[in-house]
């Protein structure tokens, strides 16, 4: 089977890329590993999504989205798993595990939108015993919203990402006692609008600068001990013991990059996803990445912008020699995407996505080209959970392989 584009993952990003790309070609295959499309949205069933202007029911939102992608007429395989990608001359040879056997698909380009997984208990280095009752927010969302079962009656959260707030919303609706949210950071890890809508509304206390110092319980969690962090050190005198049956971990996203890593693509130290150019193309020609497998998104808006672009770029893809230059940024950023720019490709209206490394008030984001400011934008507030994007027209400038692009917050 020959395809123009293979899309791995049928969540928001995969679907938007598919819809957008289908304007150019209908020879697209979308592969989803779960029984239904939706990815994270499916787990948010019954939650309220907050866009800048209004609130939307996620169930409704997903239904509309699935209808749209179904109307494009592209091929969609559910419960199918992309096992292996091989590069063969100008095409990729992809093995897909399905209920009907292993299917081989040849495709010109691939969009990876395989999402993320949350940092686990082990990756967050949480000490103590290992009983039942330690979950990630996404596991909670799956149990509650997809399966319809309650894994907790009284719980405490560690980490205040936006995902944790959706989990809280779902648990509260099921009459679960959420004792509080603890975070080892000094500031909440979620968007302000979500804090207000979901934490404050339900009167869930938020404890900042606390870390888990013990998990108590042999078979099931009985209590969690949190300790205050002062100046980066655990204060032995300020401990809180919370009696509960569950610890729900929301320590952030790790892009799911198994496939792209198996192809030895260059990976970013900052996003933990692959390094991409302005077309979201990885170091492997013809493979694009979008959504949470590219970088941790908290908001659907930025995710959609990127996913649509990637759909168009993948549809346009032609093998050419790329001429890459690096995009540098100062320590005030936790990441900037893209990290490289391809001079041989389209340089007008490039979207740069970034997160600040800490909170800032009344600062300016500046872009330098060879020490000259070519862009600046003032922000009254910048804070880490909020991803921002700026659009740069680099076509105006005479860029060469020696050009240096640098982003600063000043």
């Amino acid at each position: 089977m020959n395809k123009d584009i293979l899309i791995v993952g049928g969540g928001i990003s995969g679907i938007y890329s598919a819809i957008e790309a289908s304007n150019k070609t209908s020879n697209i295959l979308l592969v989803e590993s779960e029984r239904e499309l939706g990815g994270l949205l499916r787990k948010l069933k019954g939650c309220e999504l907050i866009f800048d202007s209004n609130k939307t029911s996620s169930t409704e939102y997903l239904r509309t989205l699935v209808d749209k992608v179904n109307k494009t007429g592209i091929e969609i395989w559910k419960e199918s798993y992309v096992s292996n990608i091989l590069k063969e001359d100008t095409l990729f040879s992809v093995d897909i595990i399905t209920k009907d056997g292993i299917k081989n698909v040849k495709t010109k380009s691939i969009i990876i939108a395989s999402g993320f997984h949350e940092k686990t208990r082990n990756q967050s280095f949480i000490p103590g015993s290992n009983p039942s009752g330690i979950f990630t927010s996404s596991a909670i969302l799956y149990y509650v919203n997809v399966l319809g079962y309650l894994p907790t009656k009284t719980c405490v959260f560690y980490g205040s990402t936006d995902l944790s707030l959706y989990a809280i919303e779902s648990l509260i609706k099921a009459n679960v006692n959420v004792i509080g949210v603890f975070d080892d950071r000094e500031n909440p890890s979620c968007l302000n609008k979500n804090t207000e809508d979901k934490l404050n509304k339900y009167n869930i206390p938020l404890y900042l600068s606390y870390t888990v110092t013990d998990v108590i319980g042999k078979d099931r969690v009985e209590a969690i001990e949190f300790s205050k962090i002062k100046n980066g050190i655990i204060d032995e005198n300020e401990k809180i013991r919370i009696d509960c049956d569950s610890l729900i971990i929301s320590q952030g996203y790790i892009p799911e990059c198994k496939l792209i890593e198996s192809l030895n693509a260059k990976m970013s130290l900052w996003t933990k996803g692959p390094i991409v150019d302005q077309n979201s193309m990885t170091s492997i020609d013809g493979i694009f990445v979008t959504g949470n497998s590219l970088m941790a998104h908290n908001e659907i808006e930025t995710q959609i912008i990127n996913a649509k672009e990637v759909g168009i770029n993948a549809a346009k893809f032609k093998q050419t020699e790329r001429e890459l230059i690096d995009v540098d940024f100062d320590e005030n950023y936790s990441f900037v995407v893209p990290e490289v720019v391809d001079l041989s490709s389209n340089l007008s209206n490039i979207n740069f996505f970034f997160r600040p490394a800490k909170s800032f008030n009344n600062k300016t984001v500046k872009v330098y080209l060879n020490k000259q400011i070519i862009f600046s934008k003032d922000y009254t507030v910048l804070y880490p959970p909020k991803m921002e994007n700026i659009t740069l027209d680099l076509k105006k400038y005479d860029l060469t392989s020696d050009s240096k692009i640098m982003l600063k917050i000043e």
């Binding site: 590993s33 029984r35 239904e36 019954g46 419960e79 798993y81 096992s83 093995d95 595990i97 399905t98 209920k99 009907d100 056997g101 292993i102 997984h117 949350e118 686990t120 208990r121 082990n122 990756q123 280095f125 949480i126 000490p127 103590g128 015993s129 290992n130 009983p131 039942s132 009752g133 979950f135 990630t136 996404s138 596991a139 799956y142 149990y143 509650v144 919203n145 997809v146 399966l147 319809g148 079962y149 309650l150 894994p151 907790t152 009656k153 099921a174 013990d214 998990v215 042999k218 078979d219 099931r220 049956d245 790790i254 198994k258 890593e261």
Partner: protein, 594 residues
Amino acid sequence: MSSISKIDRIIKEINSSFEVREDNGLLFLDGKTDNYDEIVLAGREAVTSDHYGVINDIRLEGEKEIEENDEILDYSLDNLHVDCLVIGGGVIGSAILRELSKYKLNSILIDKESDIIEHQSGNSNGIIDSGLTIKSKTLKALYTVRGNKMFDKLSEELEVPFERNGHLILLKNRFEKIFYSKLFVNAKKRHIPGIKLINRKTLLSIESEAPKWANYAIYIPSGGSINPYKFTIALAENAVENGALVFLNTKCLSMDVSNNIIKSVKTNRGTIFPKVVINATGIYSDKIAEMAKDRTFTIHPVKSTNLVLDKKVSYIAEKTSFIKSPITVIRDENDTKKVGVIRGVRKLLKQERKYMYEELSTIHSTSGNVIIGPAIIETPKREDYSSDVSIISQIIEEQRKVSPKLKKSDVISYYSATRASTYEDDFVIRKGIFTENIFEACGIDYPGLTASPAIGEDIASMVINYLKEKGYKILPNKLFNPHHSSIKPIKDYPRSLRDKLIKSNPKYGIIVCKCEEISLGEIESCLSSPIPVYTLDAIKKRIGAGSGKCQGSICSPLIQDAIARKKRTSILNIKKSSNESVVLFEKIEDNKHE
């Protein structure tokens, strides 16, 4: 001065409340302290060659013993008469059970946990030791060397992933070659084949990521690595296939011993009447020996911690496992050259007491993940599975000397478990001394995994001899089949075979565990095995589902769902491991779900 008064003087120096007395060929220690180190130290100092062993009854003040759960579960085993009762389903108990199943005997194994291989064996790092560096004239050395040689055949019979790619001891300085001479003598005496001193060039051809300072290495080709879960489970399942029985959630509560014979064993599921009892209870083996009135030793738990790394950094130990020599000194701020050399030489000459990082290795495992560990530390708790984050950081810090590319962010999992060490620092493999129908396979710490097949053979032959002496006619099990088909990951099958398999059963085409690419079909076949265990942890141990990068956070709900369907029960009944380790509490009503 008699040895006993000398011991008395030494332990009184440790703590004036400590006392020693001699009885029945045993040394008893008594007293109390609030410092656990003193108890361990006194126990070590009391070891002599004139006694069976040390019974260290010094109490640790303020330490609560774990509350024993002696609740009766049911009476399903009440009045059961068997030939052999093996207590403990770790690798030792499983190896013994398999050997016993070679005879026409009515053999059963009981374990108090919800699955076999729960404690020490379940937290092994899979190293198959060559036996080269173990102290001379010990059972440990004897059984390890013998056990090592049995793995080629066993792994083939049981279809368990095993690699004999050798181990390396990295050396920095020329003078460390004396270490090699000492080991070379050991190797000759113990018939350990092929050990070689190699230069850096050869070293790099074996492990390209060897640290810069490693100028030489001792290469031990007989060292290897096995999947410890699959090995133990295959041993036990093969025993079951050959007629033995395994009962889980079955705890030994007491024994009725009279005239030096165990008459019956009381469990939480009724009283069992065995002809012989085999004690393979690891960390609890002194307690079980005590019940059998045959205790000659004391278990002092040693907690070991291992880290599992992401497969993407497998290249740091591509083929072998390696360790730095005890006299290799890598200068850093805290580690002066002098201390290192003295410590190393002392260890070399006297097999000095252990320190935390003595065994720390970079381990190539058969699953492809590199394991870093173990760090070892004495603990008063028999079941201490808690993880101390500072130890994890220290392990990484320390092992960066050997594997400089090690990063904390590459750690996907870590686990701690306690080892059953004795003060004599040796295995106890014997027939009962004070009770005639108990067989002890106790005090087995590292490298018990390697030693297990040899221990299994010997304990089984001791049992057979005893039963024969007692006038029983013991016949070989002519139907014994040594072959066991273990569940192999289908993703490793040739493409066409995998495709065929999916076409015969579409469930092999539904991937449930995305990190490890494990299908619904594999999970189901794992539940049709000779010892099916319907828990999340059991599935993880048997086929690795949920052991990958996401540690089951994505697939656990799907695996639970699959188990529930297969067992035809509600998903609410599917637990993490034990019966009390509930995952889901209730169904959410008034809500339409998929």
